[in-house]
């Protein structure tokens, strides 16, 4: 078969990355490679920061600058606040990764509303615990399905939709029981679900909050499996990366996006159960009091390397980001006692987030877009 290559065709350019040359320059540029890993691999950056934070506070603790020892048991006990944070961070991971401006402002409101539903079922109607938990997950899923339907099937912008449902769900949560929390006996007894349990043997076993084992770890493992081992994970990353190409590839873009919001709702429903246990009461403002639960969850997700433009995000990033924030906060509480401590936590969160975002912008300009 003859070809159409013209005799004047340019001589093939020398291959830019010759194997040997590349290896040599790689060895020479080790610091450059480390910097690159730090800037482009969020996991690496978070690990470095996490170690830096823990080492700093351990040192301060050893020199008695802190009001109480910053040690393993303290770190373990503070993990109780990581439970809702990781779970909702994972919920945001799903919806943000689904792309098209994905975000869920309503997770906190779903927590509030589902807390009340769970409170009714377990505290007043006398449902068994497992039944009440299933109901909470299903109800949260229903709320998420409403978001998902409007966003994926009707084409509403996610930010606006979830702002609207945030208003609606939090309003219903307050009105449903006339602003009153539910703190009947079964609910109060449910506080035991928030206790710590010993892990490992020896004289001084580590006390780990039960919620870590019953809620956080299972959720993290399930979401990790979902994203990394199932066809759904592939579809989710595909629509988040390029939803036009996903459509041309034959992926059901709308159903995939819908499922992301639905799953975020289910996780929020489970967080409601955790919250009821922690408060020993089903509170109508559980997820929206103060600055609410949604904004910290989004912050954690973004800090964990979830790209707001979609298609990029890892479970490990969210977990590490939460640990970083929780243990940084725990240290701050010991260094700056009282009210001021919780204020400094806000500052720390803000600074870390802005810093991470600017770093992201810089890294993507320098190295192109990466996971």
């Amino acid at each position: 078969m003859s070809t159409t290559v013209s005799p004047e065709a340019p001589a093939p350019a020398p291959r830019p990355d010759d194997e040997n040359g590349a290896r040599q320059s790689r060895a020479r540029q080790l610091p450059e490679l480390l910097l690159r890993a730090l800037l482009t691999q969020r996991i690496v950056l978070l690990l470095v920061l996490l170690v830096a934070v823990v080492v700093t506070f351990l040192t301060l603790s050893a020199r008695n600058y802190l009001t109480a020892p910053y040690d393993a048991s303290y770190l373990s006990a503070t993990l109780i606040s990581a439970v809702p944070l990781v779970m909702l961070g994972l919920a945001e991971l799903l919806v943000i990764t689904s792309g098209r401006g994905g975000i869920d402002l309503s997770v906190g409101a779903i927590v509030s509303l589902t807390s009340m539903v769970f409170g009714f079922a377990y505290g007043e109607w006398g449902w068994p615990l497992w039944g009440s938990i299933v109901l909470a997950a299903a109800f949260g899923g229903l709320c998420g399905a409403l978001n998902g339907f409007l966003i994926a099937y009707i084409g509403y912008p996610a930010l606006i939709t979830t702002l609207a449902t945030y208003y609606a769900f939090s309003s219903i949560a307050i009105v449903i029981n006339d602003q009153q929390p539910i703190s009947t006996d079964p609910i109060q007894a449910f506080f035991s679900a928030a206790r710590s349990v010993p892990i490992g043997g020896g004289e001084d076993p580590l006390q780990v909050p039960l919620g870590i084992l019953t809620f956080l770890l299972p959720t993290a493992v399930v979401i990790w499996l979902l994203l990394n081992r199932t066809t759904y994970g592939r579809r989710l990353y595909a629509i988040g990366t390029n939803d036009v190409a996903a459509e041309w590839t034959g992926i059901d873009v709308r159903r995939t996006r819908f499922t992301a919001y639905f799953t975020a709702g289910v996780i929020s429903g489970l967080v409601a159960v955790v919250t009821v246990a922690q408060f020993a009461s089903a509170r109508p403002d559980a997820g929206v009091a103060g600055s609410g639960m949604a904004l910290p969850a989004i912050t954690i997700a973004v800090l964990g390397g979830v790209a707001i433009t979609g298609g990029i995000g890892r479970v490990a990033g969210v977990v590490l980001a939460t640990l970083l924030i929780v243990w940084l906060n725990a240290g701050i509480l010991l260094a700056v006692p009282g009210n001021a401590g919780s204020q400094w936590q806000l500052a720390a969160l803000g600074i870390v987030l802005v810093f991470a975002a600017l770093l992201n912008g810089y890294a993507s300009r320098r190295y192109g877009r990466t996971g």
Binding site: Y156, L163, Y167, A168, Q179, T299, N339, V354
Partner: protein, 345 residues
């Protein structure tokens, strides 16, 4: 489609003689959009319904507080409209309100700051915080929602530090001019509302009739194309956040004026979402490139009407959030439908 009848091709040369008021009226699309007409109809319907349901609604004792209450949200909403038109968002305004309010309240309590000083202080601080947002977003090239989530935490920290764990008490009535009592009204209309209307009118004019305003729309429509056309994109984007900071500073004064003599650290909470709600109910597209200040003011009025109405009807006040949520969904849904219809014709 515009139904205007301009000079047909080959007709009278369109030139200098086109400068009549009549012609000028036709050289622009109609100043009120479909969304705004719908909003006006809905608001009128609500007012009529509320007036029929509770005779107390259409009285001074009910309408004046409604205006006083909506003024700060509408004012912040004006800035938020400008930001959202450029394709951005600012979720840190609640933090700005908090910082400005506590600084001004302390200045009045501690050093007896006068009205002009208090307002200037608040506006300048708001502008500076807006500048922080603007610089980070325009020059750091990071998505606005992430940066403002971050600065929201920082501003809240700053505010809480200034509060120092307690409330600010015994605030003098320096700011009563903005709507507390008889001194705060002209012809029965609270000054905060009037000031807000004046600023809204100015913003409306700026957005609709000046090159700078039109550039904001161009940036929201396609920032790269705007850059190719010679628009100074970064500077314009930054100024949108500074403007919002300035307006939020003034809104903080309104908030103090409408409150009691005590300022609690929860001041401003939820105002970022309320302002965004007013903007999107008003028909401004969250994707950027389209929107108007008139819609935002109407949106704020609708939200406040619902809030006041729910209270007046003796329902749980929190029920108003449910209605606001539903209104947002209806407003955005109507906008989606209209756009879809327009695209298929």
């Amino acid at each position: 489609m515009s139904s205007s009848t301009l000079t047909p091709p080959g007709g009278a040369p369109a030139g200098q003689q086109a400068h009549t008021a009549k012609e000028r009226g036709r050289v622009l699309p109609f100043p009120i959009t479909g969304q705004e007409i719908v909003l006006i109809v809905v608001i009128v319907a609500l007012w009529v319904a509320l007036a029929l349901a509770t005779p107390a609604f259409l009285t001074e004792g009910s309408i004046v507080p409604l205006f006083v209450a909506m003024a700060p949200v509408a004012l912040i909403g004006i800035g938020m409209t400008v930001i959202i038109i450029t394709g951005g968002i600012d979720v840190s305004v609640a933090g700005i309100v908090m910082v400005c309010a506590v600084v001004v309240a302390k200045a009045m309590v501690d050093s007896g700051a006068s009205l002009p000083v208090a307002v200037a202080l608040s506006v300048v601080i708001g502008g500076l915080l807006g500048l922080v947002n603007g610089v980070l977003i325009a020059y750091g090239r990071v998505h606005a929602i992430i940066i403002t989530f971050g600065t929201a935490n920082l501003f809240k920290f700053l505010g809480l530090q200034l509060f120092g764990g307690t409330t600010v008490d015994n605030i003098p009535g320096t700011l009563a001019f903005f709507g507390r009592g008889e001194a705060g009204r002209t012809l029965g209309v609270p000054h905060s509302f009037l000031v807000m209307l004046l600023i809204a009118a100015a913003a409306w004019y700026y957005l609709r009739h000046t090159p700078g305003g039109r550039h904001l729309y161009a940036i929201g429509g396609d920032a790269d194309a705007a850059r190719l056309a010679g628009v100074k994109v970064q500077r314009r984007v930054m100024s949108a956040y500074v403007l919002t900071g300035l307006l939020t500073g003034l809104a903080a004064c309104f908030v103090i004026a409408r409150g009691t003599s005590t300022l609690a650290p929860n001041v401003g909470a939820g105002m970022e979402l309320a302002a965004i709600a007013a903007v999107v109910i008003g028909g401004t597209s969250i994707m950027g490139g389209r929107g108007s200040v008139l819609g935002t003011v109407l949106g704020a009025l609708l939200v406040q009407t619902v809030t006041s109405g729910v209270t007046q009807l003796g329902w749980r006040s929190q029920l108003s959030s449910l209605f606001i949520g539903i209104f947002i969904l209806i407003a955005v849904g109507a906008d989606l439908l209209r756009q879809r219809a327009r695209r298929t014709t």
